[in-house]
Symmetry: C2
Subunit: 221 residues, 2 copies
């Protein structure tokens, strides 16, 4: 398993930059304290996707923030990204691991209890669990399970794989981030709360402070 | 350069099977004499795309028809396809060659004279040139250049790379295939003319006969 710092996991998406360039958005979140970044690009053709990935990679490099690519192992390979994040309809983690090798970071989205039970934990460096809050960033067919349902999912994952890093995803901002950390996760994965504010540096800094404080509090408990 | 038989290059697409299963369509065109096949899937998520690719690969295997994947190097790598076909907005041929290795078949679509002049011929095993006829299978922004314009393009490619295999694409059926072979190409790439008929074996056999006859006539000329 590769070490991965999930505290503030910024997802950047060319459709959701709120008028910034994608590179500027990536630079701002890195400057504000993002510990990991993911490029999600569901509409571009492969060539512009790769161009986007290169621009984000260059923006992150001075801050040494690793870059994962959503879904597309080909794009990750083409630019030499640090890994991929895959969902339940993306490439199987086993294929991604075989193609990317042992040093790539591979994360998997878990949407249901069945996903949690079936996750190929030996192949993964982290998992993403959603459902605590309502997201506006992604069309989703499943309504949120709420914070209690979310805690049940996190506990089920911990029961299966005690050491597996878990990032909370969907609908998280500075006002509710402490709740998902208190539920036992290692960080938050965020799109809108970082991209929408005009100053994404400040937005990242604020969110990172909330996460760090919640983790410190849990560490003392 | 890898040897590639372009005489009847069947493109199969899960959106265009005319009610057949994708595997049945692939099996039928192979049985009817397809010499090369490509899976194009512009709508599926990566996991079902890979499932489609495995099904087509299994259907083609008894006929030893090589399978290329449109655009997606990750899918090609995941299933061990014979290569990829890329367009002008897909991954650069240089990246595809680096990721797939020297034995992969890599073909490139050339849409304009500028594309023909810029094609990285040293990286390619064949090129596809369109524009002779009007296609109904693909949304395209460029109107056909007609058979004379097509001949000019083929000649320009031959001038740059005399030995480069060239396949004609777009709007080709048994009634007009001889025209593009006479224009100097090595074969035809076809979707609708093979997939739409109820009997795709017969459709492939008919088209293959037309191509073989036109190539034989040119050989004697």
């Amino acid at each position: 398993m590769n070490l991965v710092d999930l505290r503030l996991y910024a997802i950047v998406d060319p459709e959701r930059t709120a008028g910034k360039t994608l590179a500027d958005l990536a630079r701002q979140v890195a400057e504000g304290g993002a510990t990991l970044a993911q490029l999600r690009d569901k509409l571009s053709d492969t060539r512009p996707f790769i161009e986007h990935a290169k621009a984000v990679q260059a923006a992150l490099a001075p801050h040494r923030v690793p870059l994962l690519i959503n879904d597309r192992v080909d794009v990750a390979l083409a630019i030499g990204a640090d890994g991929v994040h895959v969902g339940q309809t993306d490439m199987e983690a086993a294929d991604a691991r075989r193609l990317l090798g042992p040093k790539a970071i591979i994360g998997l989205s878990l949407k249901s209890m069945a996903d949690i039970e079936a996750a190929p934990i030996e192949l993964l460096d982290y998992v993403a669990i959603g459902g605590a809050y309502t997201t506006t960033s992604k069309e989703t067919k499943t309504p949120p399970v709420g914070l209690d349902g979310f805690k049940t999912r996190v506990a089920a994952m911990r029961a299966r794989a005690p050491g597996m890093p878990i990032v909370a995803i969907a609908g998280i901002d500075a006002s509710n981030a402490a709740g998902v950390i208190d539920a036992g996760t290692d960080g938050v994965s965020v799109i809108s709360a970082l991209s929408k504010p005009a100053d994404s540096v400040a937005a990242a800094r604020e969110l990172r402070d909330v996460v760090d404080a919640a983790l410190a509090k849990r560490g003392r408990a």
